[in-house]
């Protein structure tokens, strides 16, 4: 009898040792489809703090804003972020879009470029192709390399609306992901591009240009875009926790630190 008990104990011990490591309670998970601009601007930092504070595990997919909303639509995500207002027909279907942050659309150039200031008209002429040399904006005799995010990205759509006023745009280089414009502009001395201001925070090879003498932090800066969190219905569970966190003191502090403007939460949100 004693022998049987010993064998049973050994078998039980071996069985327990073979069990995979798993916590007593399964962690909550959030599937987050994130716009590249939002991620570049503050997403990565917010998510680290959010996961630490709430214990919710976040699975992030980075793409353009439109693709992020598509992931939400097809239930590949619980929440999405976009840098553009979602379409009205989605709102009619019950989607909830929560604006949480205003971010200046920064005009960026390689740090070696001696031109610091450009007018709104000149900027339009550069991207319409009327000005093709830095000489045309008071710089050296060098061809301008226009780096533009893909036309499906919100950065491109917002730029066409705010800066180009829907005039035709030309380009020399297109990047599939909007924040890759930063990588390319960093590498090419005569490049000019545009992207969410928060996404260039701390980038050494890039400088943010003044528009009519104004930097993005200055009053009267003309180009802004709004970041939204989007859910298919009123957010609940981990999605709700992310919304709450973004509007919390910690979330707003990160937004401010990166030169963006936190927005107040609307009562319905």
């Amino acid at each position: 009898m004693r022998r049987v008990t010993i064998i049973a104990l050994i078998v039980l011990t071996v069985f327990l040792l073979c069990l995979p490591d798993r916590p007593a309670v399964a962690k909550e998970r959030l599937r987050y489809a994130c716009s590249a601009q939002v991620y570049g601007a503050f997403g990565s930092e917010v998510l680290v703090v959010f996961q630490r504070n709430t214990g919710i595990e976040v699975e992030t997919r980075i793409s353009s804003s439109s693709k992020a909303v598509q992931r939400l639509e097809y239930d590949f995500a619980d929440i999405a972020s976009t840098s553009r207002r979602i379409l009205y027909d989605r709102m009619e279907l019950g989607y909830v879009a929560i604006p949480f942050c205003k971010d200046p659309l920064a005009i960026i150039a390689n740090v070696q470029c001696p031109v610091d200031d450009i007018t709104e008209d000149q900027l339009q002429d550069v991207f319409s192709g009327d000005i093709s040399n830095w000489k045309g904006v008071g710089g050296p005799d060098q061809s301008i390399v226009r780096v533009v995010p893909d036309k499906e990205t919100s950065a491109n759509k917002n730029f066409r609306r705010h800066v180009m006023k829907y005039k035709d745009m030309t380009y020399d280089i297109v990047t599939h992901i909007s924040t890759d414009t930063i990588v390319v502009t960093e590498k090419l001395p005569w490049a000019i591009s545009f992207i969410a201001r928060g996404a260039v925070h701390g980038k050494e090879g890039i400088k943010v240009m003044r528009i009519d003498g104004r930097l993005p932090d200055d009053p009267g800066y003309p180009y802004f875009q709004v970041f939204y969190l989007v859910t298919k219905r009123t957010p609940i569970g981990p999605a709700r926790a992310l919304v709450d966190f973004v509007f919390s003191v910690d979330g707003k502090a990160i937004i401010k630190k990166r030169g963006m403007i936190p927005m107040e939460r609307a009562p319905r949100d």
């Binding site: 280089i173 297109v174 990047t175 599939h176 890759d180 990588v183 590498k187």
Partner: protein, 279 residues
């Protein structure tokens, strides 16, 4: 009675606008100088061969060349619409049935491999053609999947309208979709981007990469673009009217002369025997 909308539609037709622009350009430049050759050339061809050829041509004949560098389809249109005396392109041009093409001859004069180029630090020597398709369709995300270092792949492509893109899509991708991270308007600009971006890979005519530093040419099926069994070879063409102006005729003779073909050989390209293809 034509409606206002109808007039607007006509005005917005890109073909009309392009034709009018070309006609104006043609009228302006035709009177400018009878001894000037208007040569519209693709970026690939210009970098591979023509920039150098044009200088030698002017030196030996005294004919000035007004060189316009655009994509291959644009070079063809410039020539067809009379804004250029001769076009140099990396595409064959439209099918013979296309109206307006019957008065032009197309001369295939040279073959050139399409090089697979990568950033100098990419430690990959060769890639099988099948894996190349996986690479450019976006299935392979990291160089370590091909036995290289742990570095994300950055796909750099020339614009979809360029001869380089169309030839690569047809020959290497067999028509399947190509993914991209960075796309350049001019085909030869991919070289500059690949030099600068670690992990980047692209393709371009082999002649355009001769004597360039900072990039690596990756073999395909263990073959270099200059090898006979290399799978992707594009043909360069000259397009000109059946009754060309004298400088255009002189230029064709110059390009196809022994000295001209020797330069092609030196640059790893294969000169083709003179054969006129009339579309």
């Amino acid at each position: 009675m034509i409606s206002r909308q109808g007039v607007l539609n006509l005005l917005y037709q890109p073909v009309w606008v392009f034709s009018i622009c070309c006609a104006i350009l043609a009228g302006r430049t035709a009177n400018a100088d009878e001894d000037t050759l208007r040569f519209c050339c693709s970026y690939q061809l210009s970098s591979a061969l023509m920039a150098e050829r044009v200088q030698s041509f002017t030196k030996s004949t005294g004919v000035k060349v007004d060189l316009i560098i655009v994509s291959s389809p644009m070079a063809y249109r410039y020539t067809i619409f009379g804004a250029s005396d001769i076009g140099g392109l990396a595409l064959r041009g439209p099918p013979p049935s296309r109206a307006g093409c019957e008065k032009f001859e197309v001369i295939p004069f040279c073959e050139d491999g399409i090089s697979l180029i990568a950033h100098a630090k990419t430690a990959i020597e060769s890639i099988p053609a099948r894996r190349l398709r996986d690479l450019f369709s976006g299935e392979i995300k990291n160089w370590k999947e091909l036995g290289g270092m742990d570095l994300p792949v950055v796909l750099v492509l020339p614009d979809r309208g360029t001869g380089a893109y169309r030839n690569f899509e047809r020959m290497a991708m067999l028509g399947s979709e190509i993914a991209y991270d960075v796309m350049t308007k001019n085909s030869t600009m991919v070289i500059e981007i690949v030099k600068q971006l670690p992990g980047s890979v692209s393709f371009i005519g082999q002649g355009a990469t001769v004597a360039l530093h900072g990039i690596r040419t990756i073999r395909v099926n263990k073959q270099l673009p200059t090898d006979k069994r290399y799978p992707y070879r594009q043909t360069y063409y000259l397009v000109l009217p059946l009754e060309p102006r004298t400088p255009a005729k002189q230029f064709v003779d110059f390009v196809l002369s022994e000295a001209g073909t020797n330069i092609m050989k030196q640059r790893g390209m294969v000169p083709l025997p003179r054969k006129v293809h009339v579309p």
